[in-house]
């Protein structure tokens, strides 16, 4: 904020502020001498009253000085600007409005949505522009959506677009839209203005929105949220394990959020295929609860899961979907011929619902493989493995050596690794914190997973932070852990030969290995995507002929009009979709509302400088922000008040 003067030429008159002091000094009365009989009583009265009169005199002097200053202020005609005034040009102005069109703006407050108020404010802003001013509008969505590629003079078109385009059901960050606005303004001429109209909800990481703008662009915020809504939402639906197998128990975990100030009890409905389940969920005030339902399904294939709450003021997040990819068994590929690979195969074959597949050559992997375990890997078929890992196939690697490319992919040291014999053998221990993969063993009901001795293993100079440990040697060296850079890949340096370790001979080995395999699968991103992204087609080119995308209610969304349909053209709203060709369901896909959109509590945006941003209550105040607010009437009123106070003070007798 800053103050400007309409009559700066009168500023030297500020010296007159010293006038009351001068008058006080000059007009001090020269006291007459009076010989008085006795000062006995007079001194006593003086002592008692001086403590009251001295502050009163100072107050009078201050009031009179202030009065002169205020009077001068009236003549200087100051104006108050909510932000620092740089070198303003009186000519052209370029305005970019960043209009938040993310899903949270669909929340309704006082009978209308935040987006409806935001569009009305944007139109009011555009109306206040003068002829010749340029403007543009960027809608905040998953990908920022500018109306023009650069600010233009056709404001009517902008207003029409603002009114016509609905609010999206996508997430998005203000930061990206502001960055685009700054880029557009960088080449604009005249005064550059940026107004951000948003509910200023927290960023996905929970931090306040950060608006980074160069100093030569005047940034103003216009919050449209009137306060936090007592929103209840389903923010996550997860499967545990992520790849359930037909006939084996699994859990559907639903996270329910409550932004209200008091705890609530909510009915939660779960639809799994044609099966309905109803749960009562207690959610603490301003917190969340993880509701869990254990199921065992005999059917196979992808099943839709729909979790829903009763609708509230923001119904978009009261329903959330997920695809349940039930399979008959898990296909686990095992490559390698050493003792460790053999032990892996024996263990996998002993597990129910799991089938081992021998992989002789890594270049020719079977099409369906849920997990691959490679013992003695030397970096072969790295690109193929990389693609499969990216397609959500977990990989357990026991490398014999790591070529530079593989080392760079995994963030591990390159080289051939020597085998070290340890005499006496060294024991195992559980890392701290306890790995999530072996959470079942934490209570020690099934025996410690760290039982056993290791007498031989390869020496890897791995830095601690490269791995998320699952099992360690007693000396702290991680022998089994997730690769931090590629969490789908697990690093294995635990030889299972009879002369190498006795881990596989321990009674807890089979359940421990089975539990770890169950948890090797991470949440399937292949089957879901956030709203605002384009759905990939399961087929392309010639094979895509006859492909169509339908909703769960079989309403068509897109259909192939000829060869070449590659992906859906427009971002889809949250829900479940099926790719079909005729009667055949090729795949099922869940489009999800980003979790951050459920947090409707507004926050105060921050800047890189930490300064408080100018904030408008309504767009009507924008003109005042530009031209400043005349302060002289306020100064005059304050001066009158001070004059009245001074008069009252001088008239009032000092209490005896």
């Amino acid at each position: 904020m800053s103050i400007g003067l309409d009559n700066p030429g009168l500023a030297p008159l500020a010296l007159l502020a010293g006038l009351p002091v001068l008058i006080h000094l000059i007009a001090r009365p020269r006291p007459r001498l009076l010989r008085f009989p006795s000062l006995m009583l007079l001194e006593k009265a003086h002592r008692e009253s001086v403590n009251l009169r001295r502050p009163r005199h100072w107050l009078l002097l201050i009031l009179r000085t202030l009065w002169v200053l205020l009077l001068l202020g009236v003549f200087l005609q100051p104006r108050w600007f909510a932000r620092p005034q740089g070198e303003r040009t009186d000519g052209q102005r370029s305005l970019v409005i960043v209009l938040d069109a993310t899903a949270s703006m669909r929340a309704r407050e006082n009978g209308r949505s935040r987006y409806a108020r935001a569009t009305a404010e944007a139109v009011t802003l555009l109306r206040q522009l003068d002829t010749g001013d340029k403007a543009n509008l960027i809608r905040v969505r998953a990908i920022p959506e500018p109306i023009y590629t650069e600010p233009g003079v056709n404001r009517d078109f902008l207003m029409e677009q603002v009114r016509q385009r609905p609010c999206s059901q996508e997430g998005g960050t203000l930061e990206a839209a502001v960055r685009l606005a700054v880029e557009q303004l960088a080449t604009a001429e005249g005064d550059r203005e940026l107004v951000v109209i948003s509910d200023f909800q927290a960023e996905p990481d929970g931090s306040p929105p950060l608006l980074q703008v160069p100093e030569d662009i005047a940034l103003t915020t216009l919050p449209v949220a009137e306060g936090g809504l007592p929103n209840q939402a389903i923010t996550d639906v997860q499967l545990l394990p992520a790849r359930p197998v037909r006939g084996q128990p699994f859990q559907i975990q639903v996270r329910v959020l409550n932004e209200a100030g008091q705890a609530v009890r909510l009915p939660l409905t779960l639809q799994i295929g044609s099966r309905f389940e109803r749960l009562e969920v207690s959610v603490p005030a301003s917190g969340s609860t993880l509701a869990s339902l254990e199921l065992e399904m005999e059917s196979e294939g992808p099943l839709p899961v729909v979790a829903s709450l009763e609708p509230d003021l923001f119904p978009d997040d009261d329903t959330r979907t997920c695809v349940l990819p039930l399979s008959s068994d898990l296909q686990i590929g095992i490559s390698g011929s050493d003792a460790t690979a053999r032990m892996w195969k024996r263990t996998v074959d002993a597990l129910p619902g799991v089938q081992s597949v021998r992989v002789d050559t890594l270049e020719a992997l079977p099409e369906r493989l849920d997990l691959l375990m490679i013992s003695g890997w030397k970096g072969d078929a790295m690109e193929m493995l990389r693609r499969r890992v990216e397609a959500e196939m977990p990989l357990i690697l026991k490398p014999a050596e790591l070529p530079p490319a593989a080392a760079e992919w995994l963030g591990l040291p390159a080289g051939r690794f020597a085998v070290q014999r340890m005499d006496p053998p060294i024991g195992l221990r559980m890392p701290d914190p306890w790995p999530a993969e072996l959470a079942l063993f934490r209570e020690d009901s099934y025996g410690s997973p760290a039982r056993g001795l290791v007498s031989r293993h390869a020496v890897f100079p791995i830095q601690e932070e490269a791995l998320i440990p699952i099992l360690s040697l007693e000396n702290g060296e991680t022998v089994w852990g997730r690769v931090r850079r590629v969490p789908e890949v697990q690093f294995w340096n635990l030889p299972l030969g009879a002369d190498e370790s006795d881990l596989a001979q321990q009674p807890q080995w089979v359940p421990m290995f089975g539990e770890a395999l169950r948890h090797s699968f991470r949440t399937s991103e292949r089957l879901s995507s956030p709203a605002g992204t384009h759905l990939p087609t399961p087929l392309d080119g010639f094979e895509a002929k006859g492909l169509e995308l339908v909703t769960l209610n079989q309403d068509p969304v897109l259909s192939e009009k000829g060869a070449g349909l590659v992906q859906s053209q427009d971002p889809l709203p949250p829900g479940l979709y099926e790719w079909r060709r005729g009667e055949e369901v090729l795949s099922m896909h869940a489009v999800l509302l980003p979790e951050a959109e459920s947090h409707l509590t507004p926050m105060v945006p921050e800047t890189q400088t930490g300064k408080e941003l100018p904030k408008l209550e309504t767009a009507e105040g924008w003109r005042e922000l530009q031209e400043g607010i005349e302060l002289w009437p306020w100064l005059l009123a304050a001066g009158l008040l001070i004059a009245a106070a001074e008069h009252a003070l001088t008239q009032r007798k000092v209490p005896a």
Binding site: P29, P31, L34, R35, F36, P37, L41, L42, A45, S49
Partner: protein
Amino acid sequence: MSLSNDILTPALLRELDKRRFQPRNRVEGRHSGRHKSPLRGSSTEFRDYREYTPGDDPARVDWRVFARNDRHVIRTYEQEAQTGCVVVVDQSASMNFGKPETKHRHASRLAACLCHLVIHSQDRAGLYTVRGDKTEWYPPAGNARHLEGVHRALASGAPAETADLPGALRKLQGLLHTSSTLVLISDFYCEPGDLFHGLNPFLHRGFDVHLLHILDPVERTLPEDRMLKFRDLENSAELKTDPNSLRTRYEALLADHLRGFRELSVRRGVRHKLHITDQPLFDALSELVE
């Protein structure tokens, strides 16, 4: 009589001729006079009867009463004694204040009037002036020469220094042998308790004590000036202040000061009279003169 004329103008003398000194209490004197004494005496004015006791003069037995009642009673008569009045005048520097007449001048005229009236009432008047730690003592007498001396002393006395009234009273105590009327004329800038401590011996001996509290009108209300430098007449201490801002508090403190004297006076049977110098002179003497 030239000096006395400075204090007592012909007009005042004419006023004095119309008045006479009349003490409030019975007086105890060694000489016969016109005032009733607390003692029984030998005047012609009957007072009352009392039982005869051995030692009484048998000639004073009322035989008529004996004839009627068969009781020996003695007739007693009023003792008429000549009384004394001692005037104590404060001549401290604080009394040298006031316009057109200073408090000292006013007090001197009061004292002169009182002495004049006492002596012209065939009684005896004494004067005791106090200035600093110096005192002047004119023992009570009842002749014209004494009165002239008293007038001269009053006219020539110049106020100075600080008067120690309680101390001066202690000195005076040894100079007076019979109880009489004691009149103190002062502005009494001292603590009431201290003054009454000095008066206690007189009160115990039955003196009829009068305090004439002299104040100037300006001293009561302070001047109207905005700012004044006050200088204490007694110790030259100075205080620069705005009397307007102090007036209310000063008046309250002065009222407290006077109330202190008044309350102690009532309790001890002393007559306290506040006299402002712009009031008629004889108002101050209303308790002593008729």
